[in-house]
Protein backbone atom coordinates (compact mmCIF):
# COMPACT_ATOMS: atom_id res chain seq x y z
CA UNK A 1 0.00 0.00 0.00
CA UNK A 2 1.36 3.43 -0.88
CA UNK A 3 1.12 6.11 1.74
CA UNK A 4 -0.45 9.35 0.67
CA UNK A 5 2.09 12.20 0.52
CA UNK A 6 2.05 14.44 3.61
CA UNK A 7 0.17 17.66 2.79
CA UNK A 8 2.47 20.72 2.79
CA UNK A 9 0.28 22.40 5.45
CA UNK A 10 0.94 19.55 7.85
CA UNK A 11 4.68 19.73 7.29
CA UNK A 12 4.71 23.47 7.83
CA UNK A 13 2.69 23.18 11.06
CA UNK A 14 4.93 20.38 12.34
CA UNK A 15 8.01 22.47 11.62
CA UNK A 16 6.61 25.56 13.36
CA UNK A 17 5.46 23.59 16.43
CA UNK A 18 8.82 21.84 16.64
CA UNK A 19 10.75 25.11 16.52
CA UNK A 20 8.60 26.68 19.25
CA UNK A 21 8.91 23.52 21.39
CA UNK A 22 12.69 23.54 21.13
CA UNK A 23 12.91 27.25 21.94
CA UNK A 24 10.66 27.07 25.00
CA UNK A 25 12.21 23.89 26.41
CA UNK A 26 15.63 25.51 25.99
CA UNK A 27 14.35 28.68 27.65
CA UNK A 28 12.98 26.66 30.57
CA UNK A 29 16.17 24.77 31.29
CA UNK A 30 19.07 26.76 29.86
CA UNK A 31 19.16 29.73 32.30
CA UNK A 32 19.53 27.42 35.32
CA UNK A 33 22.22 25.34 33.59
CA UNK A 34 24.02 28.54 32.69
CA UNK A 35 23.92 29.75 36.29
CA UNK A 36 25.53 26.52 37.48
CA UNK A 37 28.23 26.58 34.76
CA UNK A 38 29.21 30.21 35.38
CA UNK A 39 29.41 29.61 39.12
CA UNK A 40 32.68 27.75 38.44
CA UNK A 41 34.05 30.77 36.56
CA UNK A 42 37.62 31.78 37.44
CA UNK A 43 37.47 35.42 36.28
CA UNK A 44 36.26 38.51 38.10
CA UNK A 45 33.40 39.10 35.69
CA UNK A 46 30.53 37.02 34.50
CA UNK A 47 31.53 35.85 31.08
CA UNK A 48 30.28 32.97 29.06
CA UNK A 49 31.92 30.68 28.20
CA UNK A 50 33.98 30.99 31.41
CA UNK A 51 37.68 31.73 30.99
CA UNK A 52 39.12 29.10 33.29
CA UNK A 53 37.55 27.10 36.07
CA UNK A 54 37.77 27.45 39.81
CA UNK A 55 35.86 27.11 43.05
CA UNK A 56 36.82 30.63 44.13
CA UNK A 57 33.22 31.89 44.20
CA UNK A 58 32.21 29.02 46.44
CA UNK A 59 34.99 29.87 48.88
CA UNK A 60 34.02 33.54 48.60
CA UNK A 61 30.44 32.56 49.44
CA UNK A 62 31.52 30.53 52.45
CA UNK A 63 33.57 33.49 53.71
CA UNK A 64 30.87 36.10 53.07
CA UNK A 65 29.35 37.00 56.40
CA UNK A 66 26.18 38.55 54.97
CA UNK A 67 25.36 35.52 52.83
CA UNK A 68 26.08 33.09 55.66
CA UNK A 69 23.86 35.02 58.05
CA UNK A 70 21.08 35.21 55.48
CA UNK A 71 21.23 31.50 54.67
CA UNK A 72 21.11 30.59 58.35
CA UNK A 73 18.18 32.98 58.91
CA UNK A 74 16.27 31.54 55.94
CA UNK A 75 16.82 27.97 57.21
CA UNK A 76 15.58 28.85 60.69
CA UNK A 77 12.54 30.70 59.34
CA UNK A 78 11.64 27.87 56.94
CA UNK A 79 11.96 25.19 59.65
CA UNK A 80 9.70 27.10 62.05
CA UNK A 81 7.23 27.93 59.27
CA UNK A 82 6.88 24.24 58.38
CA UNK A 83 6.28 23.32 62.05
CA UNK A 84 3.50 25.92 62.40
CA UNK A 85 2.06 24.98 58.98
CA UNK A 86 1.78 21.35 60.07
CA UNK A 87 0.12 22.21 63.38
CA UNK A 88 -2.44 24.47 61.67
CA UNK A 89 -2.81 22.78 58.30
CA UNK A 90 -3.14 19.06 58.99
CA UNK A 91 -6.07 19.44 61.44
CA UNK A 92 -7.79 21.81 58.99
CA UNK A 93 -7.68 19.21 56.22
CA UNK A 94 -10.04 16.84 58.09
CA UNK A 95 -13.19 19.00 58.35
CA UNK A 96 -12.53 20.39 54.86
CA UNK A 97 -12.62 16.91 53.28
CA UNK A 98 -14.79 14.83 55.64
CA UNK A 99 -17.26 16.99 57.57
CA UNK A 100 -20.43 18.23 55.93
CA UNK A 101 -21.41 21.72 56.93
CA UNK A 102 -22.65 24.89 55.34
CA UNK A 103 -19.93 27.12 53.95
CA UNK A 104 -17.36 24.32 53.68
CA UNK A 105 -16.51 25.21 50.09
CA UNK A 106 -16.19 28.85 51.03
CA UNK A 107 -13.78 28.03 53.88
CA UNK A 108 -11.74 25.83 51.53
CA UNK A 109 -11.46 28.65 49.00
CA UNK A 110 -10.53 31.08 51.79
CA UNK A 111 -7.73 28.84 53.08
CA UNK A 112 -6.34 28.37 49.56
CA UNK A 113 -6.75 32.06 48.63
CA UNK A 114 -3.13 33.05 49.46
CA UNK A 115 -2.17 30.99 46.38
CA UNK A 116 -4.27 33.24 44.15
CA UNK A 117 -3.48 36.62 45.71
CA UNK A 118 -0.44 38.60 44.51
CA UNK A 119 2.41 38.26 47.01
CA UNK A 120 3.08 42.00 46.86
CA UNK A 121 -0.44 42.77 48.12
CA UNK A 122 -0.16 40.24 50.99
CA UNK A 123 3.25 41.65 51.96
CA UNK A 124 2.08 45.27 52.02
CA UNK A 125 -1.09 44.36 53.95
CA UNK A 126 0.97 42.57 56.60
CA UNK A 127 3.45 45.47 56.86
CA UNK A 128 0.56 47.93 57.40
CA UNK A 129 -1.00 45.59 59.97
CA UNK A 130 2.22 45.27 62.01
CA UNK A 131 2.87 49.01 61.88
CA UNK A 132 -0.68 49.82 62.98
CA UNK A 133 -0.21 47.53 65.98
CA UNK A 134 3.03 49.38 66.77
CA UNK A 135 5.20 46.28 66.21
CA UNK A 136 8.63 46.59 64.65
CA UNK A 137 9.64 44.01 62.04
CA UNK A 138 11.28 40.99 63.66
CA UNK A 139 12.14 37.33 63.26
CA UNK A 140 8.77 36.16 64.61
CA UNK A 141 6.80 38.52 62.35
CA UNK A 142 8.73 37.16 59.35
CA UNK A 143 7.79 33.60 60.38
CA UNK A 144 4.13 34.62 60.86
CA UNK A 145 4.09 36.24 57.41
CA UNK A 146 5.57 33.20 55.66
CA UNK A 147 2.99 30.91 57.28
CA UNK A 148 0.21 32.85 55.50
CA UNK A 149 1.57 32.01 52.03
CA UNK A 150 2.74 28.43 52.71
CA UNK A 151 -0.20 27.09 54.77
CA UNK A 152 -2.35 26.39 51.65
CA UNK A 153 0.20 23.81 50.44
CA UNK A 154 -0.03 21.65 53.55
CA UNK A 155 -3.83 21.91 53.56
CA UNK A 156 -4.24 21.11 49.87
CA UNK A 157 -1.74 18.22 49.77
CA UNK A 158 -3.06 16.68 53.00
CA UNK A 159 -6.67 17.05 51.78
CA UNK A 160 -5.81 15.50 48.42
CA UNK A 161 -4.35 12.48 50.21
CA UNK A 162 -7.26 12.27 52.68
CA UNK A 163 -9.87 11.98 49.94
CA UNK A 164 -8.09 8.86 48.62
CA UNK A 165 -8.21 7.00 51.98
CA UNK A 166 -10.71 4.18 52.36
CA UNK A 167 -12.83 4.86 55.50
CA UNK A 168 -13.61 1.16 56.03
CA UNK A 169 -10.15 0.63 57.58
CA UNK A 170 -10.94 3.25 60.19
CA UNK A 171 -14.38 1.78 60.86
CA UNK A 172 -12.78 -1.65 61.27
CA UNK A 173 -10.26 -0.27 63.76
CA UNK A 174 -13.03 1.38 65.80
CA UNK A 175 -15.11 -1.83 65.73
CA UNK A 176 -12.12 -3.77 67.03
CA UNK A 177 -12.00 -1.45 70.01
CA UNK A 178 -9.39 1.14 69.02
CA UNK A 179 -9.73 4.62 70.54
CA UNK A 180 -9.90 7.72 68.32
CA UNK A 181 -6.26 8.49 69.17
CA UNK A 182 -5.14 4.93 68.40
CA UNK A 183 -7.08 5.02 65.15
CA UNK A 184 -5.36 8.25 64.13
CA UNK A 185 -1.85 7.04 65.00
CA UNK A 186 -2.09 3.49 63.65
CA UNK A 187 -4.52 3.78 60.76
CA UNK A 188 -4.81 7.35 59.47
CA UNK A 189 -1.27 8.69 59.88
CA UNK A 190 0.59 5.83 58.12
CA UNK A 191 -1.64 6.31 55.06
CA UNK A 192 -1.61 10.09 55.24
CA UNK A 193 2.07 10.80 55.68
CA UNK A 194 3.20 10.96 52.00
CA UNK A 195 0.83 13.89 51.46
CA UNK A 196 1.87 15.59 54.68
CA UNK A 197 5.59 15.08 54.01
CA UNK A 198 5.37 16.36 50.43
CA UNK A 199 3.40 19.38 51.69
CA UNK A 200 6.09 20.02 54.30
CA UNK A 201 8.87 19.78 51.68
CA UNK A 202 7.13 22.30 49.41
CA UNK A 203 6.26 24.63 52.28
CA UNK A 204 9.92 24.57 53.33
CA UNK A 205 11.09 25.44 49.83
CA UNK A 206 8.45 28.13 49.41
CA UNK A 207 9.46 29.83 52.64
CA UNK A 208 13.19 29.45 51.90
CA UNK A 209 12.66 30.95 48.42
CA UNK A 210 10.06 33.53 49.32
CA UNK A 211 10.94 36.92 47.98
CA UNK A 212 7.93 39.23 47.65
CA UNK A 213 6.45 38.81 51.12
CA UNK A 214 9.90 39.06 52.74
CA UNK A 215 10.54 42.24 50.77
CA UNK A 216 7.99 44.03 52.92
CA UNK A 217 8.02 42.03 56.15
CA UNK A 218 11.76 41.50 56.74
CA UNK A 219 13.65 44.29 58.49
CA UNK A 220 16.90 45.68 57.05
CA UNK A 221 18.89 43.99 59.79
CA UNK A 222 17.28 40.56 59.25
CA UNK A 223 17.49 39.85 55.55
CA UNK A 224 16.66 36.35 54.30
CA UNK A 225 18.73 34.86 51.47
CA UNK A 226 16.52 35.83 48.47
CA UNK A 227 16.51 39.48 49.61
CA UNK A 228 20.31 39.50 49.98
CA UNK A 229 20.61 37.95 46.50
CA UNK A 230 18.29 40.61 45.11
CA UNK A 231 20.41 43.46 46.44
CA UNK A 232 23.62 41.76 45.26
CA UNK A 233 22.11 41.69 41.74
CA UNK A 234 20.41 45.05 41.72
CA UNK A 235 23.43 47.22 42.24
CA UNK A 236 26.26 45.16 40.84
CA UNK A 237 26.09 41.74 39.22
CA UNK A 238 28.46 39.86 41.49
CA UNK A 239 29.68 36.39 40.39
CA UNK A 240 29.21 35.41 44.03
CA UNK A 241 25.48 35.20 43.26
CA UNK A 242 26.18 32.30 40.89
CA UNK A 243 27.51 30.10 43.66
CA UNK A 244 24.57 30.84 45.97
CA UNK A 245 22.10 30.38 43.10
CA UNK A 246 23.59 27.01 42.15
CA UNK A 247 23.00 25.76 45.67
CA UNK A 248 19.39 26.99 45.48
CA UNK A 249 18.87 25.16 42.18
CA UNK A 250 20.20 21.95 43.73
CA UNK A 251 17.82 22.44 46.67
CA UNK A 252 14.84 22.90 44.31
CA UNK A 253 15.75 19.73 42.40
CA UNK A 254 16.04 17.83 45.68
CA UNK A 255 12.57 18.92 46.75
CA UNK A 256 11.16 17.98 43.33
CA UNK A 257 12.82 14.55 43.69
CA UNK A 258 11.46 14.03 47.22
CA UNK A 259 8.01 15.25 46.17
CA UNK A 260 7.82 13.01 43.12
CA UNK A 261 8.98 10.00 45.15
CA UNK A 262 6.19 10.66 47.65
CA UNK A 263 3.37 11.59 45.31
CA UNK A 264 4.42 11.01 41.71
CA UNK A 265 5.30 13.81 39.28
CA UNK A 266 1.79 14.03 37.88
CA UNK A 267 0.25 15.00 41.20
CA UNK A 268 2.85 17.74 41.66
CA UNK A 269 1.90 19.04 38.22
CA UNK A 270 -1.73 19.24 39.34
CA UNK A 271 -0.56 21.23 42.34
CA UNK A 272 1.47 23.53 40.11
CA UNK A 273 -1.67 24.68 38.34
CA UNK A 274 -2.99 26.11 41.56
CA UNK A 275 0.16 27.96 42.54
CA UNK A 276 0.49 31.62 41.74
Amino acid sequence: MRRAPTPPGDMLLAAVLAVFCVVSLLALVFPSVLVVITSFNASDFLTFPPQGWSLRWYTAMAKNWEVRQAAWLSLKVAALVVAIDLLLGVPAAFPLTRARFRGRDFLGTFILSPLMLPGIVIGIGLLFFYMLLGLSLSFSLLVISHVVVTLPFIVSLTSARLTTLDPTYEEAALNLGASQVQKFIHIVLPQLWPGVAAGAAFAFLLSFDNFTVSLFTASDRLRPLPIVLFYLLRYDISPLVGAVSSLEIVLALLVLLVGSRLLGVTRIAQLGKRVT
Binding site: D10, L17, V275
Partner: protein
Protein backbone atom coordinates in the same frame (compact mmCIF):
# COMPACT_ATOMS: atom_id res chain seq x y z
CA UNK B 1 -10.47 25.57 62.82
CA UNK B 2 -7.33 27.38 64.04
CA UNK B 3 -6.11 27.71 60.44
CA UNK B 4 -9.16 29.80 59.55
CA UNK B 5 -8.65 32.00 62.61
CA UNK B 6 -5.00 32.48 61.66
CA UNK B 7 -5.84 33.56 58.14
CA UNK B 8 -8.60 35.90 59.30
CA UNK B 9 -6.07 37.72 61.53
CA UNK B 10 -3.05 37.61 59.21
CA UNK B 11 -4.69 37.70 55.77
CA UNK B 12 -8.24 39.11 55.83
CA UNK B 13 -7.56 41.96 58.27
CA UNK B 14 -4.29 43.04 56.57
CA UNK B 15 -6.06 43.10 53.18
CA UNK B 16 -8.89 45.21 54.61
CA UNK B 17 -6.26 47.53 56.11
CA UNK B 18 -4.60 47.84 52.71
CA UNK B 19 -7.88 49.13 51.25
CA UNK B 20 -8.64 51.48 54.17
CA UNK B 21 -5.12 52.96 54.21
CA UNK B 22 -5.90 54.58 50.87
CA UNK B 23 -8.97 56.26 52.39
CA UNK B 24 -7.44 57.92 55.49
CA UNK B 25 -4.45 60.19 56.11
CA UNK B 26 -1.33 58.39 57.30
CA UNK B 27 1.90 59.93 58.44
CA UNK B 28 4.86 58.07 59.92
CA UNK B 29 2.93 54.83 60.11
CA UNK B 30 0.05 56.35 62.10
CA UNK B 31 -3.49 57.18 61.06
CA UNK B 32 -3.74 60.93 61.63
CA UNK B 33 -7.19 61.73 60.18
CA UNK B 34 -10.43 61.08 62.01
CA UNK B 35 -12.61 60.80 58.90
CA UNK B 36 -12.55 59.12 55.50
CA UNK B 37 -11.11 60.94 52.53
CA UNK B 38 -11.09 60.31 48.77
CA UNK B 39 -8.30 62.81 48.30
CA UNK B 40 -5.58 60.18 47.77
CA UNK B 41 -7.59 58.35 45.13
CA UNK B 42 -8.40 61.67 43.44
CA UNK B 43 -4.71 62.61 43.36
CA UNK B 44 -3.64 59.30 41.80
CA UNK B 45 -6.55 59.05 39.35
CA UNK B 46 -6.13 62.67 38.27
CA UNK B 47 -2.46 62.32 37.37
CA UNK B 48 -1.62 61.21 33.79
CA UNK B 49 1.77 60.00 35.09
CA UNK B 50 0.07 57.08 36.84
CA UNK B 51 -1.95 56.19 33.74
CA UNK B 52 1.28 55.78 31.82
CA UNK B 53 2.71 53.44 34.45
CA UNK B 54 -0.53 51.48 34.64
CA UNK B 55 -0.59 51.10 30.86
CA UNK B 56 3.02 49.92 30.85
CA UNK B 57 2.19 47.39 33.59
CA UNK B 58 -0.85 46.21 31.64
CA UNK B 59 1.27 45.79 28.53
CA UNK B 60 3.86 43.87 30.57
CA UNK B 61 1.14 41.48 31.80
CA UNK B 62 -0.58 41.04 28.43
CA UNK B 63 2.70 40.75 26.51
CA UNK B 64 3.97 38.00 28.81
CA UNK B 65 0.59 36.23 28.52
CA UNK B 66 0.65 36.24 24.70
CA UNK B 67 4.29 35.07 24.58
CA UNK B 68 3.56 32.30 27.09
CA UNK B 69 0.64 31.13 24.97
CA UNK B 70 2.65 31.07 21.74
CA UNK B 71 5.59 29.24 23.32
CA UNK B 72 3.66 27.14 25.84
CA UNK B 73 0.98 25.64 23.60
CA UNK B 74 3.38 23.59 21.41
CA UNK B 75 5.01 22.10 24.54
CA UNK B 76 1.62 21.15 26.00
CA UNK B 77 0.61 19.60 22.67
CA UNK B 78 3.90 17.69 22.47
CA UNK B 79 3.27 16.36 25.98
CA UNK B 80 -0.02 14.72 24.94
CA UNK B 81 1.63 13.10 21.92
CA UNK B 82 4.55 11.24 23.52
CA UNK B 83 5.07 8.09 25.62
CA UNK B 84 5.28 7.92 29.42
CA UNK B 85 9.09 8.13 29.65
CA UNK B 86 9.29 11.34 27.58
CA UNK B 87 6.34 12.69 29.56
CA UNK B 88 8.20 12.27 32.84
CA UNK B 89 11.25 14.05 31.40
CA UNK B 90 9.08 16.89 30.04
CA UNK B 91 7.30 17.29 33.39
CA UNK B 92 10.61 17.60 35.23
CA UNK B 93 11.72 20.26 32.72
CA UNK B 94 8.45 22.13 33.19
CA UNK B 95 8.32 21.82 36.99
CA UNK B 96 11.97 22.41 37.92
CA UNK B 97 11.89 26.13 37.03
CA UNK B 98 8.63 26.48 38.95
CA UNK B 99 10.42 25.42 42.13
CA UNK B 100 13.51 27.55 41.57
CA UNK B 101 13.75 30.90 43.30
CA UNK B 102 12.52 33.81 41.12
CA UNK B 103 15.68 35.83 41.81
CA UNK B 104 17.88 32.91 40.74
CA UNK B 105 15.99 32.39 37.48
CA UNK B 106 16.16 36.10 36.72
CA UNK B 107 19.91 36.00 37.35
CA UNK B 108 20.22 33.38 34.58
CA UNK B 109 18.60 35.83 32.16
CA UNK B 110 20.94 38.61 33.27
CA UNK B 111 23.87 36.45 32.11
CA UNK B 112 22.15 35.73 28.78
CA UNK B 113 20.79 39.19 27.98
CA UNK B 114 23.44 41.29 29.74
CA UNK B 115 25.38 44.15 28.12
CA UNK B 116 28.46 43.66 25.92
CA UNK B 117 29.50 40.49 27.74
CA UNK B 118 26.05 38.93 27.62
CA UNK B 119 25.67 35.62 25.85
CA UNK B 120 23.33 36.83 23.10
CA UNK B 121 25.43 39.85 22.22
CA UNK B 122 28.69 37.90 22.31
CA UNK B 123 27.19 35.29 20.00
CA UNK B 124 25.65 37.76 17.54
CA UNK B 125 28.85 39.85 17.45
CA UNK B 126 31.00 36.81 16.75
CA UNK B 127 28.65 35.61 14.01
CA UNK B 128 28.80 39.07 12.49
CA UNK B 129 25.01 39.52 12.57
CA UNK B 130 25.39 42.82 14.43
CA UNK B 131 28.25 45.27 14.74
CA UNK B 132 27.16 47.02 17.93
CA UNK B 133 25.77 45.19 20.98
CA UNK B 134 21.97 45.42 21.14
CA UNK B 135 20.43 46.57 24.37
CA UNK B 136 18.02 43.94 25.74
CA UNK B 137 18.77 43.93 29.45
CA UNK B 138 17.13 46.93 31.15
CA UNK B 139 14.41 47.25 28.47
CA UNK B 140 10.79 46.12 28.23
CA UNK B 141 11.87 43.32 25.87
CA UNK B 142 14.24 41.95 28.48
CA UNK B 143 11.49 42.07 31.12
CA UNK B 144 9.06 40.26 28.78
CA UNK B 145 11.59 37.52 27.97
CA UNK B 146 12.29 36.91 31.67
CA UNK B 147 8.60 36.94 32.64
CA UNK B 148 7.69 34.56 29.83
CA UNK B 149 10.19 31.95 30.94
CA UNK B 150 9.16 32.22 34.58
CA UNK B 151 5.42 31.95 33.88
CA UNK B 152 5.56 29.32 31.09
CA UNK B 153 4.72 26.41 33.48
CA UNK B 154 1.50 28.18 34.56
CA UNK B 155 0.39 28.28 30.92
CA UNK B 156 1.57 24.78 29.96
CA UNK B 157 -0.01 22.86 32.85
CA UNK B 158 -3.68 23.97 32.39
CA UNK B 159 -3.42 23.48 28.60
CA UNK B 160 -2.12 19.94 29.14
CA UNK B 161 -5.13 19.30 31.40
CA UNK B 162 -7.53 20.62 28.73
CA UNK B 163 -5.87 18.62 25.94
CA UNK B 164 -5.97 15.41 27.99
CA UNK B 165 -9.73 15.79 28.45
CA UNK B 166 -10.32 15.77 24.71
CA UNK B 167 -12.01 12.75 23.19
CA UNK B 168 -9.56 11.15 20.73
CA UNK B 169 -12.43 9.86 18.58
CA UNK B 170 -13.16 13.46 17.53
CA UNK B 171 -9.69 13.67 15.97
CA UNK B 172 -10.26 10.34 14.21
CA UNK B 173 -13.64 11.53 12.97
CA UNK B 174 -12.03 14.67 11.53
CA UNK B 175 -9.35 12.58 9.82
CA UNK B 176 -11.96 10.13 8.57
CA UNK B 177 -13.87 12.99 6.99
CA UNK B 178 -10.75 13.92 5.04
CA UNK B 179 -9.26 16.66 7.22
CA UNK B 180 -5.49 17.01 7.15
CA UNK B 181 -3.62 16.98 10.46
CA UNK B 182 -3.19 20.77 10.29
CA UNK B 183 -6.93 21.24 9.69
CA UNK B 184 -7.76 18.96 12.63
CA UNK B 185 -5.29 20.91 14.78
CA UNK B 186 -6.80 24.32 14.04
CA UNK B 187 -10.48 23.33 13.79
CA UNK B 188 -10.74 20.67 16.53
CA UNK B 189 -7.76 20.52 18.89
CA UNK B 190 -7.20 24.24 19.51
CA UNK B 191 -10.88 25.32 19.83
CA UNK B 192 -11.60 22.48 22.27
CA UNK B 193 -8.64 23.47 24.44
CA UNK B 194 -9.84 27.08 24.83
CA UNK B 195 -10.89 26.62 28.49
CA UNK B 196 -7.32 25.55 29.34
CA UNK B 197 -5.91 28.45 27.34
CA UNK B 198 -8.07 30.89 29.29
CA UNK B 199 -7.22 29.39 32.70
CA UNK B 200 -3.52 29.53 31.85
CA UNK B 201 -3.80 33.06 30.47
CA UNK B 202 -5.61 34.29 33.58
CA UNK B 203 -2.91 32.82 35.84
CA UNK B 204 -0.03 34.14 33.76
CA UNK B 205 -1.58 37.56 33.43
CA UNK B 206 -2.18 38.06 37.16
CA UNK B 207 1.30 36.81 38.16
CA UNK B 208 3.06 38.90 35.51
CA UNK B 209 0.94 41.99 36.12
CA UNK B 210 1.80 41.99 39.83
CA UNK B 211 5.40 40.72 39.54
CA UNK B 212 8.09 42.71 41.28
CA UNK B 213 11.39 40.78 41.01
CA UNK B 214 11.58 40.52 37.21
CA UNK B 215 10.90 44.18 36.29
CA UNK B 216 13.09 45.33 39.20
CA UNK B 217 16.09 43.26 38.03
CA UNK B 218 15.69 42.93 34.26
CA UNK B 219 14.11 46.36 33.84
CA UNK B 220 16.80 48.16 35.80
CA UNK B 221 16.57 51.05 38.23
CA UNK B 222 14.60 53.48 36.08
CA UNK B 223 12.03 51.00 34.71
CA UNK B 224 8.78 51.84 36.50
CA UNK B 225 5.79 49.53 36.59
CA UNK B 226 3.16 49.60 39.33
CA UNK B 227 4.75 46.89 41.57
CA UNK B 228 8.23 48.48 41.49
CA UNK B 229 6.72 51.94 41.92
CA UNK B 230 4.70 50.78 44.95
CA UNK B 231 7.83 49.31 46.54
CA UNK B 232 9.65 52.61 46.11
CA UNK B 233 6.71 54.59 47.53
CA UNK B 234 6.35 52.37 50.59
CA UNK B 235 9.89 51.32 51.45
CA UNK B 236 12.03 54.25 50.35
CA UNK B 237 9.71 57.26 50.44
CA UNK B 238 7.30 56.12 53.19
CA UNK B 239 4.39 57.41 51.10
CA UNK B 240 1.97 54.90 52.53
CA UNK B 241 -1.17 56.61 51.28
CA UNK B 242 0.09 56.47 47.71
CA UNK B 243 1.29 52.91 48.18
CA UNK B 244 -2.06 51.78 49.58
CA UNK B 245 -4.05 53.44 46.76
CA UNK B 246 -1.81 51.95 44.06
CA UNK B 247 -1.77 48.47 45.63
CA UNK B 248 -5.59 48.54 45.95
CA UNK B 249 -5.91 49.62 42.32
CA UNK B 250 -3.43 46.91 41.26
CA UNK B 251 -5.41 44.21 43.06
CA UNK B 252 -8.72 45.65 41.88
CA UNK B 253 -7.73 45.78 38.20
CA UNK B 254 -6.21 42.28 38.44
CA UNK B 255 -9.51 41.00 39.87
CA UNK B 256 -11.50 42.67 37.07
CA UNK B 257 -9.26 40.99 34.48
CA UNK B 258 -9.66 37.63 36.27
CA UNK B 259 -13.43 38.08 36.24
CA UNK B 260 -13.35 38.82 32.51
CA UNK B 261 -11.26 35.70 31.84
CA UNK B 262 -13.59 33.59 33.99
CA UNK B 263 -16.73 34.91 32.33
CA UNK B 264 -15.34 34.24 28.87
CA UNK B 265 -14.19 30.78 29.87
CA UNK B 266 -17.61 29.96 31.37
CA UNK B 267 -19.25 30.92 28.08
CA UNK B 268 -16.77 28.91 26.05
CA UNK B 269 -17.17 25.92 28.33
CA UNK B 270 -20.90 25.91 27.59
CA UNK B 271 -20.11 26.16 23.89
CA UNK B 272 -17.54 23.35 23.80
CA UNK B 273 -19.90 20.86 25.45
Amino acid sequence: MPAVGYLIVFLAIPLLLLFTFGLVDIRGGRVVSDSWTLEHYARVLGDPFYYRIFLRTLWMGLGATILCLIFGYPVAYLFTRVGPAVRQALLVMILAPLLTNAVVRTFGWMIILGGQKGLINALLLRLGVIEEPVKILYTMNGVLIGLTQIQLPFMILPIIAALERQDGSLHEAAAGLGATWAQTFFHVVVPLSLPGILTGSALVFVISYTNFAVPALLGGGSFAVIPTFIFEQISALLQWNNGAVLASLLLGTAMVMLWLFNRTSARLLRWTR
